[in-house]
Symmetry: C2
Subunit: 197 residues, 2 copies
DNA sequence: GCCAGCATGTAAGGAGTTACATGATTAT
DNA sequence: ATAATCATGTAACTCCTTACATGCTGGC
């Protein structure tokens, strides 16, 4: 029983939450008091290396985090607009977050590469389809990389965002390499190469 | 109404299935008659570029595919073992698969990089934790790449598995690049670099 | 006049997981 | 002895998504 105690000692056993919860908590850990709406904007920046959660999920996570005592919130009135609920991380929340960051086992990255999946079954593709697929993929990756470049610019050298900046640099190198490697199989897909029919 | 018709003409409108379904169908499209168990073994090879589905999901997908008429099956008795159900792709199944491969819109790759996620929030990590994280990640990636190398070997130059071979080559280049780029942020994480506390 | 942005939330459902159950055979 | 392999399947659950509902403000 109780296979979720990772370190028995004096620490209370904390529930294991999905990474999405910790991501939301992590944004609050920068210190600001944020609404669900604002959190959603921040979370969009995760899309380059983590998918970004749907709006409705953010609100759900906030309710869960508050129920756990990791987040406190207060309502703020606004003229003409619906009230806004601002969220702040608690001490317990910060501890839980650090527990995740420092102690929790790290899952391997999850990759679902639907282009590679199609290439894998390429013997059934119509002629030219695979080259088309790879070209589109390279173009889309270039666009994403350009977007990431803008984000990187906006971060600048602000020490508060040193680590997001590091991740953005990593991301740029990642996408750049991905564009290069995606061109390689593309080079081996001659027009008549895909088996006809 | 009916926003699922992608090409109205004479083609019947087919339900949109998740990629996992098409992956299962795709393995059957190589022509063999396979049991759920065998399909699971094949599907494990997807793990390098697509996650591989749980065993219970494979059986579920097979039932769905059969209900749609994309797969036919027959039971085979075995001495001492539970009966085995062998599955074969139908003509309708092959057409549906090619429809997916050739016409369906291609979703962007999904990446959930939990190491990058943690690095993003690195300002709250204990000293040394980030370097540890990156080292572990590089080591794990090397192991995965070695496994992929073995799979690549076993494929050889068999023309039936030409496209899986291409994907494996791509994968090796991908992991190799990932190891290189992951070392870069690692180089900027000096021991005292992670903010104390 | 219409759309985008601000702001929150519910409902319904699909995708995918783990854990469990069963049971013979072969290898260590 | 006991574990792994073969072989299938159910139950219960979590994560996450889309679609919808509401309603004011500001810009084109």
């Amino acid at each position: 029983m109780s296979n979720r105690h990772r370190r028995g000692r004096s620490e209370a056993s904390r529930p294991v939450l999905p990474n999405t919860s910790y991501a939301v908590l992590g944004f609050l850990a920068f210190g600001a008091e944020l609404s669900g709406y604002e959190l959603r904007q921040w979370a969009l920046n995760l899309r380059f290396f983590y998918w970004s959660p749907a709006q409705s999920q953010i609100y759900g996570e906030l309710r869960r985090l508050e129920a756990l005592g990791y987040v406190s919130s207060r309502e703020v009135e606004q003229k003409g607009r619906p009230d806004k609920r601002l969220h702040r991380i608690t001490d317990a929340g910060r501890q839980a977050f650090q527990g995740w960051l420092n102690e929790a086992p790290v899952e391997p990255p999850v990759l679902k590469h639907s282009v590679a999946l199609r290439l894998f079954f390429g013997h059934l593709a119509r002629p030219g389809r695979l080259a088309e697929l790879m070209d589109e993929y390279v173009a889309a990756t270039r666009r994403l990389m350009a977007e990431l470049g803008e984000v990187r610019q906006s971060i600048g050298q602000d020490p508060l965002f040193r680590y997001p900046g590091l991740v953005a640099d990593w991301g740029e190198a990642y996408y750049s390499a991905e564009i290069d490697t995606a061109k390689r199989p593309a080079g081996r897909l001659m027009p008549g190469d895909s088996a006809p029919q």
